[in-house]
Amino acid sequence: MIKKRGKLLFLLILVFTFNAWGKDGLVVYSGRHEKFVRPVMDEFSKKTGIKVYLLNSKSTALINRIKLEGKNTKVDAFISNDAGILQIGSDMGLFKPISKETLQGIDKNYRATDNTWVGLSARARVLVINSKYEKQLGFIKSVFDLADPRLLGKVAITDSANNSFIAGLSVYQALAGDKKTLAFLQGLKKNTIRKVYNKHSKIVEDVAKGKRWIGLVNHYYIYRHLDKHPKAPIKIILPDQGEEGMGVAWNISGFAIVKYTKKTKQVQQLLQYLLSKEGQEVFSKGNREYPVLKDAAVPKMIPKNYKVSKFPMSSLGKMRNKTLNLIEKVGLY
């Protein structure tokens, strides 16, 4: 009897799944936090009546899934928090080129060379410090200073599987060379005394509490923390400025149209909205990132007019494996 019931239940599962996603909307695999993506999607649905189903997970897991599903996939578009992953998907031939009209007003640096993906917003890798220790930390001018032995036990970084972390390292590695980056990572590993953080927000929190003095984060986490705790003693440092400096590393959150989509028109509509002035402002305001459209307003508070590293986003994908080799060699957590 148990067996019979089991079969029935299994059938039930299949039925439920096939009905899980209606045929009326767009299915988007998103590697970006839902709370950043949901508002702009809701806005789009309101305007057009097209529903958007989000499946949230890690960008890496999602890109693998698209590849595995192949032609049978139901997904129409892919949002990633990392240009490197987008490029990897592009290299696997999973995406469709985006039309030129859609990409008007978007800087070349924010999209794939063959236009198979485009950035939606950009973010900066910056340092956050506890202002109580500003004096002791006065010597810090570059990201590489995080490896300084004076900072033993004071540095907070994310898990080395974090895409923003990897992408940032790729930029440093490309601009400063393998040797210098390797030495940097070895020092960094010592200074973090075995404990890495699984979220950027926790880094900012611990820096604000003074448990760690300095952290390497995406810029918007600082402002999100200040939203909740306006008096938190934290400050931003923009590293690697000046004539000699390599500049702040940037990365993008981006969008790609999956090759197998049967709803090209609607997906294009969605992308056009996301890249419109309105869509850009809704999106970048929600997550405090830099809009990629030139005309769109940059959210308040976040720093402007500083030196950004001259590393093309589309090359992040190529660097990724080299960076992972380095991480593995050092044995970063």
């Binding site: 148990i2 067996k3 019931r5 089991g6 239940l9 299994f10 039930l12 599962i13 299949l14 439920f16 799944t17 096939f18 899980a20 996603w21 299915v27 936090h33 839902e34 709370k35 189903y53 499946l55 949230n56 997970s57 890690k58 890496t60 897991a61 890109i63 693998n64 899934r65 595995l68 599903e69 192949g70 049978n72 139901k74 992953i85 036990g153 898990d159 080395s160 599987a161 990897i166 005394i193 075995r194 404990k195 890495v196 953080y197 699984n198 979220k199 927000s201 926790k202 494996n321 992972l324 991480i327 593995e328 060699k329 050092v330 044995g331 957590y333």
Partner: protein
Amino acid sequence: MLLKTYRNKFSLSAFSAFFVVLLVLTPLLLILSNGGKLEAERWSNLWGTRAPELLWQTVKLAVAVALVTTILGVSAAWISTRYRFKGSGIIVWLLVLPLAIPTYVYADIYIRLLSENGWLYWLAQFWNEYIINSWLLKWVSSVWAWLTGDSDIVSQISDLIATCMVLSLAGFSYVFLLVRAALIKSTQSLEEAAYIHGATASEVFWRVNVPMLRPAIAASLAIVVLHTISDFGAVRTLQYETFTTEIYRQYSRNRADLSLPAALSVILVVMAFSFLVIERFFRSRQRYFASGKAIDRRYLKELTGIKLVFAWSWIGLIVFFSVFVPVALIVTESIVYWASSSASKGVWVNALNSFVMAAVVATVALVLAFPIAYYHTRKRNMMSGALMHFSNVGFVLPGPVVAIGTSVMVLMFFGQMVTALFLLAWVIAVVIRYLPLATQSQESALQQLTPSTEQAGRILGASPLQNMKRVVIPIIKPGVISAWVLVFIDALKELPAALVLGLGYETLPVVIFHQANEEMMEAAAPAALMLLIASLPALWLLMRGNRNQLASSL
């Protein structure tokens, strides 16, 4: 003739056992072969950088959790079975509730409660100001720093204690249940005999009770330790590094080859298997057949006065942290959430998803586990033991590894991946993960079935199948039910495979994990509540069986 059919039956169960073990092992083997060989240089690099440290981290956590769960579980079981006092009836019901709350929910809840605005902030403050600053810890820390050059021992201890407490609160119920069952089953006459021969109370405890309880403790610790080693949600949330977090990290770095996570998995499997062999060794020397009618009437001491206060303070302390705090928080936050926003209907869909999924997994696991358990109980030779051990592989492999391996296997068989196949892979992956629960408890259930009972059935002319239907199944049914329930509860809470293979078919754990990850625990609370409610009928079933004593087989 009779002998011949007997042999046939055994070969049938042996054949099915082989088949199941093959199914269970294939994903692992595929990962190993698919990942290719890890070059010697990277191996040595792995050993040079992380492996020893991760090994140490994992082992010390497992030992700590084993210790704490034993203390909590055995003491609670002892108090609840040996004494009679006001409210003793409800203890059992309270102490199985933690089984319905996943470890990552405990982790999230305690992180928030111990932070600045939490109810338990005073505890964190007390710890930071008095314990960490105490002369003893300072002294330990400086001696340790002088010995090893490692100045960070205090925060390591804090991390270990925090993680250990979370996993122990979530896991001690296994020890409680099994030890309690053993205590109920044990006859008082043995103790009385010891007393008559002049043994003191403590001698009776160490020389009669402890040996009697040893198999139960060993079996429950096996479950607890394996849960600890392969736990993903809680250690990830608490940022405590173990093999599992490292494997997940390697996997989520997403390199084309899986050789590094595969290599780490191999170390983990070797570790866990050696532990299981030790556990088996402890248990194998004790095999009990139920000795006819056990003498049920046990004289229970009535607790009064100060002793009653002590008993209830201890139980109350355990209940407070393991049940009251999390449940209260989940319930209040759910109410706030439902009252405030346009509460999502989605939770009901997720609950249904979880429920159906877990039921299917439990049923499949039960069916697949039976031949292994049956073969081993009857044969007890090298081969059956080996099959038994190998069927445990999913339990010690971290969820992500099982999930990846299974999807590779399904892909290999069908050549493509469609939604339905993802679901198939998902079911298989979760079944593989929790198969050991089903085999272990069915094996103990089958031990209740003495060979003589079965032989009697055959002598009276029943065919093997008839015998199975009319003798074997009725006797082991309660044990089988508890096996189903155990798998069901764990499958309900399963996270990593659902993350990797769930494919938009979101279960409650996935919702909780995502929401908690985005620091929206309020939104996760309704899902946690649903999980709790969904587990209740199963727990009830389990406890009812337990009362009938046969689930004691567990």
